[in-house]
C-alpha cells in the first residue's frame, strides 16, 4: 500500500520547534510497517535545512512554509474572476458566522485553480484579493464586535492568509509518481496546515486520509503567541481560519486518531463524528528504559515542568512549605527550563520568602529531569495536553503525584495520586502521604511503570495503524472512477469489491506500472484498463485505482470512508480503570 505521510517539520530537526510534529514518531511508524511503501511529505518551517535523512529509504518531498512569498505572476485576466469568486467564498466563511459552510468549496476551488496555473500566491498579494477581503470584512453581518478592521489589518491579514494557504501551491497534486493522487491513503501527523494537502488530495483525487494528532492542534493555535501580537480583527480572522480548517479536516478525515481522551473531546467539540475517532496512544521510545535505582536517602520531591505560570512552580513551592512544616528533612528538586525572562528569579524569590532556600534546589532541566534523584515525582501544571512528560515520569518507576488536568486522569489512572489544580493543601497532603509510606510509594511506582509500559509501547501503535490502513482501503472501491459512472449520477461503488490483501499485494513495481496513466484521461480508467494491465505482470487494478477521474471519485470515496472507517477499539484503547489496581 502506498502511504503518503504528511507532517510539519524538516528532514533535519533543527530545534525544539520542529520536533513537535513527532518526527521520531513517523520514523517508528515507518519502521514498524515496513510492508507498506511510505512517502514523506514535509511542510518545512522557514530556516530549516532541506536535505535527505540518512538511512531512510522513504522518499521525502519538502515544501517550504512561511518566509518570503515565492516569485510568480498573478492569474491571467480571464481567470482572475474565478480566483476572486473562490477567495470570496473562503473569506465569507471566515468572517460571516452564517456562511461557515462555504469554507470547503472555496478552499477546494482555490486549490484547483492554483494547481492549474500556480498563480495563487501572487493573486493573494494582489489588489484584487485585498479588495475582496475588504468588501467581505466590512459587509453587514461580519463578526467585528470587538473592533473594525483597518487598512493595516487588511494588509497583515491578507499576508498571513497567503502564508496559511501556501500548501495549496505545493507541487504534490496529481496522480503521477510521487504525487498525492498516486497514494492509496494519506496519513496526516500533527494536523493543522499539514492537513491542507490531504484535504485537497481528498477533494481532487478521492484519496482518503487518517489524522493523528499529538495534543489538540487547534488548542496550540489559540495558545500561541504568534497571533497574540495582532489586533483583534486579524486574530479573529486567522483563528477562524484555523478553526474552520480543523473542522473541515475532522469532517473529511476517514479516521481520527488522537493520542488521548482529552484530544478526543477536542475533536468531538470541533465536529468530528464520534464513531470515526480511535484513541491511539503515542508510543514512547523509552519504554524499555531500566527503572530508577534506589531512592535518595532524604525524603525528596522532584518537580518537573517549565518555570512559567502554566506549569505552576509556585503551587509546588507553596505545597512544599506545608510539607516541610510536617517533615523538616524533606528536600525539593525543581527541574525546569525558564519559560520567560525573570521567571526563574521569581521562583527563587518565592522560595526565599517561604523560607525554603536551603531545602529547594533549582536544577538545569534541559536534558530532561533526572527522575532517579527524587523519591516522589510531582507535576503541578494547570494544563497537560500531551501525555509525554507524565509517561516519562511513570516509566522511571517512581510514584507520581500530578494535578488532575487534561490528560492526567487517563494516563495516571489508579497508578498515582491525582490532586485538584491550584490547591497547595491537597498537593502537600498527597506528597506527605507518599513520603511517609514507603510501601505505598514502591507499589504505586511499580504500578505506574507497568501501566506506562503497557499503554505507551510502540508495538500497539504499529498494530493499530496496520489495522486502520487495511480497514480504510478495504472499504474503498478498487476503481473509484469506474464506479462513479457518468457525471451527475449518484455514485454506486461497491465497498468490498476487492479483499484487503489485494491492496497489500502490490510492491514497488506498482508505481512504475501506473506512471504512464495520464491523469486527465478519464476514459482510460476503469476495470477494463485494470485487467489489461494485469497481463503486464503488474498487480491487477492498481493502475486503475491510482488514476481516478479526479473530483468525480471524491464523493464516492468520502461516502465509503464515512460508512466503513472507525468502529472497533484498538488494543491500545483505554483499559477498564481498576484492572491495573487489581493487578497491583
Amino acid at each position: 500500500m502506498r502511504v503518503a505521510l504528511l507532517t510539519e517539520g524538516a528532514t533535519e530537526s533543527a530545534g525544539p520547534d520542529t520536533r513537535r510534529s513527532g518526527d521520531g514518531w513517523c520514523d517508528r511508524l515507518m519502521d514498524g510497517l515496513a510492508e507498506h511503501e511510505f512517502r514523506l511529505y514535509l511542510l518545512a518551517p522557514p530556516g530549516c535545512a532541506v536535505g535527505t535523512r540518512p538511512g531512510r529509504p522513504a522518499a521525502v518531498h519538502e515544501f517550504p512554509m512561511g518566509g518570503r512569498r515565492p516569485p510568480g505572476h498573478g492569474p491571467a485576466l480571464h481567470r482572475r474572476r474565478q480566483y476572486v469568486r473562490a477567495y470570496r467564498d473562503l473569506v465569507r466563511a471566515l468572517v460571516l458566522p452564517a456562511e461557515r459552510r462555504s469554507f470547503g468549496p472555496g478552499l477546494y476551488r482555490l486549490a484547483e485553480l492554483a494547481r492549474e496555473d500556480g498563480a495563487l500566491p501572487a493573486f493573494l498579494a494582489s489588489g484584487a484579493a485585498q479588495r475582496t477581503l475588504e468588501a467581505v470584512w466590512r459587509s453587514p453581518g461580519a463578526d467585528t464586535a470587538a473592533g473594525q478592521p483597518q487598512v493595516g489589518d487588511l494588509l497583515v491579514a491578507g499576508d498571513l492568509l497567503e502564508q496559511c494557504l501556501r500548501p495549496l501551491s505545493a507541487p504534490w497534486y496529481g496522480t503521477g509518481a510521487g504525487e498525492l493522487g498516486g497514494a492509496d491513503l494519506c496519513h496526516v501527523v500533527g494536523g493543522g496546515p499539514a492537513a491542507l494537502p490531504a484535504l485537497v488530495a481528498g477533494a481532487l483525487h478521492g484519496v482518503p486520509f487518517v489524522v493523528t494528532e499529538h495534543g489538540p492542534q487547534l488548542r496550540e493555535q489559540y495558545r500561541s503567541d504568534r497571533y497574540a501580537q495582532y489586533r483583534w480583527p486579524v486574530r479573529a480572522l486567522l483563528l477562524g481560519f484555523s478553526r474552520l480548517l480543523a473542522e473541515e479536516t475532522y469532517r473529511q478525515a476517514a479516521v481520527l486518531t488522537p493520542d488521548s481522551e482529552y484530544g478526543r473531546q477536542w475533536q468531538q467539540r470541533c465536529g468530528a463524528a464520534p464513531e470515526r475517532i480511535r484513541v491511539v496512544y503515542e508510543g514512547a521510545a523509552a519504554v524499555d528504559r531500566a527503572p530508577a535505582g534506589p531512592e535518595p536517602e532524604l525524603p525528596t520531591l522532584l518537580w518537573a515542568g517549565a518555570l512559567e505560570p502554566g506549569h505552576d512552580p509556585e503551587l509546588m513551592l507553596h505545597a512544599f512549605a506545608r510539607v516541610r512544616a510536617d517533615l523538616p528533612t524533606a528536600r525539593l528538586r525543581m527541574y525546569g527550563e525558564e519559560g520567560g525572562p525573570g521567571r526563574a528569579a521569581h521562583c527563587r524569590v518565592v522560595a526565599d520568602r517561604l523560607g525554603l532556600d536551603d531545602a529547594v534546589s533549582f536544577e538545569d532541566g534541559r536534558g530532561g529531569p533526572a527522575w532517579e534523584t527524587g523519591g516522589v515525582l510531582v507535576l503541578s501544571a494547570r494544563t497537560q495536553s500531551s501525555p509525554r512528560m507524565l509517561v516519562d515520569a511513570m516509566l522511571s518507576g517512581r510514584a507520581v503525584v500530578t494535578t488532575e488536568v487534561g490528560v492526567a486522569r487517563e494516563v495516571v489512572g489508579p497508578a498515582g495520586l491525582l490532586v485538584p489544580p491550584r490547591s497547595p493543601q491537597a498537593l502537600a497532603g498527597a506528597c506527605l502521604a507518599l513520603l511517609g509510606d514507603s510501601e505505598r510509594r514502591v507499589r504505586l511506582g511499580r504500578a505506574g511503570r507497568r501501566r506506562a509500559q503497557e499503554r505507551f509501547a510502540v508495538e500497539p501503535v504499529t498494530t493499530a495503524f496496520r489495522e486502520i490502513y487495511l480497514e480504510l482501503v478495504s472499504g474503498r472501491p478498487a476503481f473509484p472512477a469506474a464506479a462513479s459512472g457518468t457525471r451527475g449520477r449518484p455514485h454506486r461503488a461497491q465497498p468490498f469489491a476487492r479483499p484487503a490483501e489485494y491492496w497489500v499485494a502490490g510492491g514497488t513495481e506498482a508505481v512504475g506500472a501506473a506512471e504512464d496513466v495520464p491523469d486527465d484521461s478519464p476514459e482510460a480508467v476503469g476495470p477494463v484498463e485494470g485487467t489489461e494491465r494485469a497481463g503486464d505482470g503488474g498487480p491487477p487494478g492498481l493502475g486503475g485505482g491510482r488514476a481516478d477521474g479526479g473530483e468525480r471519485a471524491a464523493g464516492a470515496g468520502r461516502l465509503f470512508g464515512e460508512t466503513r472507517a472507525g468502529g472497533g477499539r484498538t488494543p491500545a484503547g483505554p483499559a477498564e480503570p481498576g484492572a491495573l489496581a487489581e493487578a497491583v
Binding site: 470587538a146 487598512v151 494588509l155 497583515v156 499576508d159 487534561g406 497547595p424
Partner: protein, 394 residues
Amino acid sequence: MSRPEESLPPTAQAPAWARARAEVPAPPGGQEWEYPSVPVPSGDPVRELMERYRALCEQAVDPLDIAVGLEEAGLGRIEARRYRQADVFELADELYARVPRRPVVAVPAPPGSSWRSRTGRALGSAVRYGLPSAVPVALRAAAPVVGLPLLALALAALGARPVGAALRRWSDSRPGAGAPDARVASGGSGGSSVAARLWYGLGAGVLLGVPVLTAGPVGAALGLAAALGMGSVEWSADWLRHAAGLGLGSAGTLSAFRARMRPVLPVALGLHLALLALFSFAALAVLTALDLGSEAGAGLLAGAAHRASGLQWAAQAALGLLLVPAAALLRTGRSRTAAVAVPTAGLGSAVFTAVRAPETAQLLCCGTAAALLLPYAWTVLGRPAAYLPDGPPA
C-alpha cells in the same frame, strides 16, 4: 440585619494556615507571593467567573478561545461541574454568551519614524551628498584651471559616495526582523534591495555631478545646492512613508486610505521644491557676494535672483521633481522602478551634456523622467499595498 460572619474580623474567617501567612508583612513593591486561593462559588457562580475572566471573555474571538483561557488558568472538568456545566467547553459557551464583546482599547499607533530620526537621516544624507560635491566646487573656485587628475579625483569621490551610503544602509537594515506589524509602518529604507539602492545612489550621483563638474560657476553653485537638497529629498520621502503608516492605522477602507494619500506626494514635492529653491538662492547669493567682493551692498539679493537664467531654475526644479518620487518609490517596495529611472536620467544627462549646455541636458532628461515617473508614483504610492514589502522577514 447583618450576617454573623460579617461581624468577625477578616482573619478569623480564613483557615489556620492562611492566618499564619497573613501575619507576615507584605513584600515591598506589592508583589504577590501568597498563593491565590480558589474562591468558593456562591449564588450565581458563573457571575464570579465572569468578573474574574472579564478581560479574557471580552477579547475572545470565539468560545474556544475562552475555553483555552480557562484551561490555561487551571479550570478543568471538575470545576466546570461546580459551575453546573458538563465541561469547560459548555462553560466557555455560557461565558461567551453572557459577556458582550468589547472593542479593544486603541493600541497606540506603531511608532513609525519620529521627527527626530527623520531629520537625523536627512542631515546625514545632505552631508553625504553635499561634501563630495563641495570639494570640486571649492577647488574650482581656488584654481580656475581644472586639471584632469582633479576631475578624476572628484569623479572617484562621487562614485564612492553612493557605494558607501548603500553599504551603510545595508548594514543598518540587516537586523530588521521585528514583529510582522512593525514592517508595515516603520521608517527607514523599506523593502528595497541593496542593488536597487546602489543604482539609485549612482544615478543621483551622476545627475548631481554633471553640473558640478561641467557647468559654469552658476551651474556648479546650483549643483551644490541640489546636493545639499538630497537631505530634503530624504526627509520628504521619509515623511511620505510616515504619513502612510499613520494612514494604515487609522483609515478604515482602501478608498479612504487612497483619499488620504492623494495630497501627500504633492505636498512632499512642494516641500522639497521650496527647500531646494531656498538652498539654490542661498548658493547664488554666496556666489554673488564672492564675485562682487566688498562693493556689494543693497543689490545682493536682486543680483542673486537674476544670476541664474530661467532655464537653469527650471532644470533645478526638474531634478527635484525626479528625485522625490524616486526616493519614495525606493522605500515602498517598488525599488526597481526607481533603480531604473534615476540612472537612466543620469546617463542621458551625461551624454547630452557633450552636445548641449548642462542645464538644457538636465532639464530635458530629468523633466522627461519626472513626467513619466510622477503619475506612476502618485498612483502606486496611494495604494496601501505599496507599504507592505513583498514578504515577511524570515
